[in-house]
Amino acid sequence: MMSLLRTQWLFFSTILIYALVFLTNPERAGRALFTAATTFSSVLLLIIAVFSLVGLLQIWISRDVIVRLLGREGGIKSLVIAALCGTLLIGPAYIIFPLLMEIQKRGARWAVITIVLTSYAVKLQMIPLEVEFLGWPFALGRALVTIALAVPIGLLVEAVMEKQQKL
């Protein structure tokens, strides 16, 4: 029970807030719930589609393959692969921390780790959803800017990390 509360605290607090609002102002609470339901149902199909793709990618592109590609001393190629992996991997970023550390130990650059975590802000599979909510210019522009920034950020973090290691 405690662990359920800890993992789903947002769910339970939302229910609690709704309960309180329903007690104080049932009419506005009803309207809020209606807005919530219509927004949710309008993207439900898309959400189901996106998750079907998630399962497909996770099973058919194994993590071993990703480790092998990123672990290689591949110069610019490994940086590009890092950006691609970041945009494709799904799940909270912290889930891949251990995986990334494993790659780093196998000789991947700090830039690769950082680029994966930065380009994580773009999700290729989710682009249709982002377009639905925010429109083409915003979604596409955001994806391009994020990926363009990921590489310099990665190189900057790497430069500072290596400088400190020498000291």
Partner: protein, 160 residues
């Protein structure tokens, strides 16, 4: 919105159908994994959409415009970046929130910065990041990425 979802779903179903004769067990595994990840995230999604409903009903647009509007400029950029950094959640949840904020009059660059730092900067997960990679990397990466989030917002603002 419904039809886009339908087209996308049909494409995915075709992918599954093509892969079915190649490796049946792997396709079933994919389906199971898809269902599991969706099921795990479902309470969270319901909560987010629930909050979006409350948000639209109770938070006046003037308030959003005041804090996140274009007139507040750089302040709105800083506020939204830090708000994104302390929140945690899947990208999927950031989009409806961002849409609500934009409709209420928020400045697009600020919202782009919010999505960026929502996913790539994690104040709450920093202890774990520090334990895995060392505190130096964790602080450095999150700090630089937070600044990059604001930068990305500004660049996007120029592009749009």
């Amino acid at each position: 919105m419904f039809s886009v979802g339908l087209i996308y779903l049909i494409i995915i179903i075709i992918c599954y159908t093509i892969l079915w004769p190649i490796d049946r067990t792997k396709v079933l595994q994919s389906l199971r994994l898809s269902w599991q990840s969706l099921f795990k995230l479902l309470p969270f999604l319901i909560a987010i959409f629930g909050l979006v409903g409350l948000f639209q009903e109770f938070i006046p647009p003037e308030l959003i415009a005041l804090f996140l509007g274009k007139s507040s400029g750089l302040i709105s950029l800083v506020i939204s970046s830090f708000a994104g950094a302390v929140s945690i959640g899947p990208p999927l949840a950031a989009y409806p929130l961002a849409e609500t904020l934009l409709k209420a009059g928020a400045w697009p660059p600020a919202i782009a910065a919010f999505i960026f730092s929502w996913i790539s900067v994690g104040v709450i997960t920093m202890p774990f990041e520090a334990a895995t990679f060392g505190p130096r990397f964790a602080l450095l990466r999150n700090g630089i990425t937070l600044i990059a989030a604001m930068l990305s917002g500004l660049i996007l603002g120029l592009l749009l």
